[in-house]
């Protein structure tokens, strides 16, 4: 894992009317790092990644991607910068074949905009093969695929476009146990290929096996950061329950908390 940050977000504030969804969040992802973004409902996880993907504009703060500063992004710009958002079944066109979905928005064309269909099918096949998604031909409409297979198609899209950072927003919701394992394997494949990822999930047992570092959000603030190697899933569960109840990291884990700003504030309070 490199120490170079691929993405940095500084002092991000986002308000929805009177509600402050994010209260000055600092967040970063390193090269070839999988970050687990966890927290209770309403913690601000999805809002944070939607700002990173350009769906929302932050009210305050800045985003640094590959060393360049941005006040706000758009999905198009984020896509161009190598960021891909994978949402539970939301970024696929169900009636269209797998190969079209893999190349959606970045079709291979000649200079007049005509599609290079054969080339796209071949490349989609290659990309799907690396994820062992060869059960169905690339001509198959996505509506025929299971939830896990669909997530695989979306990850294949990220691999085809050489995305540097893949955001997985609750990718395991409503999947069977076997399919969750498949999705986790796809995430491991991203890591093997040198990519970075942000993995959002309510279920820490889904996140734990694949991430390098956890960032815990609570009520719009980062409250803790831990390396996975320092915790067991049970430790993490205990920390999260404590944060949900008291807003604090239990004392015995404080020394492992990488987010010193948050911990000092908590001690002060």
């Amino acid at each position: 894992m490199s120490e170079e940050n691929i993405v940095e977000m500084h002092n991000i504030v986002k308000r929805f009317g009177a509600v402050v969804a994010l209260k000055g969040v600092d967040f970063h992802v390193r090269e070839n790092e999988i970050v687990g973004l966890v927290g209770d409902n309403g913690a601000g996880k999805s809002t944070l990644v939607k700002i990173l993907f350009g769906i929302y504009a932050p009210d305050k703060g800045e985003i640094i991607i590959k060393g360049k500063k941005y006040k706000r992004l758009t999905p198009k710009k984020a896509y161009e910068l190598g960021i891909v958002l994978i949402h539970q079944e939301r970024t696929l066109c169900e009636n269209h074949p797998i190969w079209r979905n893999v190349f959606m928005g970045r079709e291979l064309t000649n200079r007049f905009g005509f599609l290079k269909i054969k080339e796209m099918k071949e490349l989609a096949y290659k990309s799907l093969t690396t994820l062992e998604l060869t059960k169905m031909p690339v001509d198959t409409p996505v509506k025929y695929l299971s939830g896990g297979y669909k997530q695989g198609v979306q990850i294949s899209r990220a691999l085809t476009f050489e995305a540097d950072l893949v955001i997985l927003d609750e990718p395991t919701v409503a999947l069977s146990l076997a399919e969750v394992q498949k999705v986790l394997e796809y995430v491991r494949e991203l890591k093997r290929k040198g990519k970075s990822a942000i993995f959002i999930s309510h279920n820490i047992y889904h996140v734990y096996p694949v991430v390098d570092r956890f960032v815990i959000l609570n009520r719009g603030e980062v409250v803790a950061e831990f390396y996975k190697k320092d915790l067991t899933p049970e430790d993490l569960s205990e920390i999260m329950i404590s944060i949900a109840r008291t807003g604090r990291v239990p004392k015995e884990y404080e020394k492992l908390n990488l987010y010193k700003k948050a911990s000092s504030l908590q001690v002060a309070s």
């Binding site: 939301r90 970024t91 696929l92 959606m104 064309t109 905009g113 269909i117 025929y144 297979y149 399919e179």
Partner: protein, 338 residues
């Protein structure tokens, strides 16, 4: 069941295009029924030439309307734009005293402008397409009525000009407007199936959020689709006024429901995301065959609407059955790909 998409050859083509096959079969059955009812009329080439002469006015706007409906939107105003385009053309010709190509160009630009207005109202002001285009339907018909004061504009004096032959002349005894229809159908098929723009049209209708998330400029695509549809509707109106050698203020009115019906019979659901030009073309031909068949059978013209209604319901029921069967297959295939 998982083997469905591993099928090859004719079997795979039949499976993938089953909706088109159903529409083709309905079309052939209707032809056969009328042929048996009135063999003399339907073995006479004049019947087919007549259909080829009038079908373009329904099918041409239906072809571009297919694009609009695939995006999940609707346009009702094209019926009035079908009058606006030829009005501009007729007034330009009257002004110059000759059938100048400039008149055609200005007529098409008027249609393009009307389409642009629809696109802007829907995307930039967020007005639902049904409501926005009801508004522009009245607006453009109102403009036509106010300008003409309800009077027709004769175009018969220009009938011998070459421009007439180009658009509504006869080629090998067949109406040229039918060749325009086939040409436009081919161009739009290529646009939808082989061009990036067509892919975006399908994606927007299938999953607009996904289209936005992958960076497709949804508003720009929708505005362009409406602009194209406006221009094509104006073109269809121009052809109709040339064929009839007159411009009349109610031009286009009768085509609104027929063109929408052509698209729907052709298998393009109003929910968007899917649809074919082939289906729309045959949908339009089915309606025209019924019209010609009823009239040539010697029964009252009042039967036309009734038969239209029955066929529309049969076609939609067949599509509904196919889609219901599809749902069962989807459930099984999803289990098999788990």
């Amino acid at each position: 069941m998982a083997e469905i998409y591993k099928m090859h050859g004719v079997k795979k083509i039949i499976y993938e295009f089953k909706l088109q096959f159903v529409i083709t079969i309905i079309f052939l059955l209707i032809w056969l029924a009328f042929y048996m009812l009135n063999p003399s009329a339907f073995s006479n080439s004049f019947t087919y030439t007549s259909i080829m002469g009038v079908a373009p006015f329904t099918i041409i706007p239906a072809i571009s309307l297919t694009l609009v409906i695939i995006t999940g939107e609707i346009d009702l105003s094209f019926a009035s734009v079908m009058a606006l385009g030829p009005l501009v053309m007729a007034m330009t010709w009257q002004f110059f005293g000759e059938p100048t190509p400039l008149g055609i160009l200005l007529g098409l630009l008027a249609g393009l402008g009307a389409g642009l207005l629809n696109g802007i109202l829907i995307t930039k002001l967020g007005i639902p397409s049904l409501i926005a285009t009801i508004g522009t339907l009245f607006l453009w018909r109102g403009v036509v009525l106010v300008v003409t004061q309800g009077f027709s504009i004769p175009l018969g004096q220009f009938k011998d000009s070459p421009i007439y032959s180009i658009f509504v002349g006869r080629l090998c005894g067949l109406p040229v407007q039918f060749f325009w229809t086939i040409g436009l159908a081919i161009i739009f098929w290529i646009l939808l199936n082989r061009h990036k723009f067509g892919a975006y049209i399908y994606y927007i209708g299938d999953n607009r959020t996904a289209a936005r998330m992958v960076g497709i400029n949804v508003d720009r695509v929708l505005i362009t689709v409406y602009a194209i549809h406006g221009m094509i509707a104006a073109f269809a109106g121009i052809l109709d006024s040339l064929e009839m050698a007159t411009f009349w203020p109610a031009l286009g009115d009768i085509y609104m429901l027929k063109s929408i019906a052509s698209v729907v019979i052709g298998g393009t659901p109003v929910t968007g995301g899917v649809g074919t030009i082939y289906g729309t073309f045959l949908g339009g031909m089915i309606l025209e065959f019924i019209e010609m068949g009823v009239l040539s059978s010697g029964v009252s013209g009042f039967w036309i609407r009734l038969v239209h209604g029955v066929v529309i319901i049969i076609a939609l029921a067949a599509q509904g059955i196919i889609r219901k069967g599809e749902l069962a297959k989807i459930r099984i295939m999803r289990m098999l790909t788990t």
